[in-house]
């Protein structure tokens, strides 16, 4: 049986996709820009950063494009003025949440958060900073986690659990006190589960996870080909 092809409109343009595809997939295939931070091709979708919210005709609520499946006849709006305002505000909330100092960050110039801020035209943060007191864990021989730069997208948690299978990372506490944690709040270097594969470092959209010895703007994240890794894993090869 072949997968049915569905037709829908995105920002007024007629496009088509396979049943079971998300709005985000179809939008990207057709060249529409929908910002994302928690979503990463090859990992399960968390639907948590709320940047990819889109409008769907006939529904008052907004829908996250990364998990909403396309439907026949759907009319999607990806970039109304209202959506842009919300997206800017969400980015600004992330900047206000922790201590993001781009000027001294290892990924300055190639950070997803920084880039999105620029793309969305954010030139200042309207919300007051919360300035939490957060640790930097440099106990691992090769990597560092700086919680000041973490946006809790949980890509590291998912890649470690779903692709590497180590599940070294999870989230501790809740709400605004949430924090990425290794094992039993163990210093990363003492973790008994970490394989040192470094996948978490390379999926991290900001400078929260980086390689030791990298100075300001020197840390480049490598694309890992996660969909490929996932396919191999699923096949059990």
């Amino acid at each position: 049986m072949t997968t049915p092809i569905l037709t829908l409109t995105i920002d007024g343009k007629e496009v088509s996709g396979l049943a079971g595809e998300t709005i985000l997939q179809v939008a990207r295939e057709n060249g529409f820009f929908i910002p994302t931070l928690c979503w990463l091709d090859g990992l399960t979708s968390a639907g948590s950063c709320r940047l990819c919210m889109v409008e769907i005709k006939g529904s008052a609520a907004l829908h996250p494009a990364c998990i909403t499946l396309i439907q026949e006849g759907m009319a999607v709006t990806t970039s109304s003025e209202r959506l842009l305002r919300y997206r800017r505000a969400i980015i600004e909330l992330l900047f206000s949440e922790r201590n993001h100092v781009c000027a001294v960050c290892v990924v300055n110039g190639h950070c997803e958060l920084q880039t999105l801020a620029q793309q969305l035209g954010i030139d200042h943060i309207s919300f007051p900073g919360l300035y939490p007191d957060l640790p930097v864990d440099a106990s691992h021989p090769r990597f560092v986690i700086d919680h000041n730069r973490c946006i809790l997208c949980t890509r590291c948690v998912r890649v470690c659990g779903e692709i590497e299978g180590a599940h070294t990372w999870d989230v501790k506490n809740r709400g605004v006190r949430s924090q990425i944690v290794a094992d039993f709040d163990t210093p990363w270097g003492d973790s008994t589960t970490c394989t040192g594969c470094g996948k978490c470092v390379h999926v991290c959209p900001t400078g929260a996870l980086f390689e030791k010895g990298k100075s300001v703007a020197e840390m480049f994240k490598k694309p890992l080909g996660l969909p490929y890794l996932k396919a191999i894993r699923d096949l059990g090869v």
Partner: protein, 165 residues
């Protein structure tokens, strides 16, 4: 108390925890039920016990820690000899428990969730114990006192801590 995951403890408390896990066929969804038993038997979530539970249920340590810190009911530190619970539900709040809480903080130099340095008193802030009709409500070592004003309640706490030993 389990020293590490290899050398499993055989004390009675650990037996109870094993029973809880067995009742759920050592499935990973038994985690929260098991943590309840740990909290009940040890009075808190001892890190070594957590490790042994994670091992037995086959759950990654980080996930166990994530669950243990997500829920208010679980505590990673031992409680003091006495526990004072102050309900901060809405009804208790509008009936003056905010002032009683402020008094306790000041009087005993404690913030909710803390235990005094001499391990005598733990202060706990409860979200709502469901006795709203008796607001404001406090629980001294589990004994409920309600419908009393600021002066009476603070006097009750003072007397209780004076007598409690």
């Amino acid at each position: 108390m389990p020293a590490d995951t290899q050398q499993k403890p055989v004390d009675r408390r650990w037996q109870r925890i094993i029973q809880t896990m067995l009742r759920h066929n050592n499935q990973s969804d038994a985690l929260i039920e098991t943590l309840h038993t740990v909290q009940e038997t040890y009075g808190y979530l001892d890190p070594a016990v957590l490790a042994a539970v994670a091992d037995r249920l086959g759950i990654p340590p980080a996930r166990v820690f994530g669950v243990a810190t997500f829920y208010n009911h679980f505590s990673l530190k031992p409680k003091g000899d006495h526990t004072l619970v102050i309900c901060t539900g809405t009804a208790c709040h509008v009936r003056g428990n905010d002032q009683i809480l402020a008094w306790v903080k000041e009087q005993y130099h404690l913030t909710p969730g803390q235990t005094s340095a001499d391990n005598r008193l733990s202060l706990v802030e409860a979200r709502c114990v469901g006795a709203c009709a008796l607001a404001p409500v406090i629980l001294c070592d589990g004994v409920l006192t309600g419908k009393k004003g600021y002066k009476e309640t603070t006097a009750i706490i003072e007397e209780w801590l004076g007598h409690a030993s």
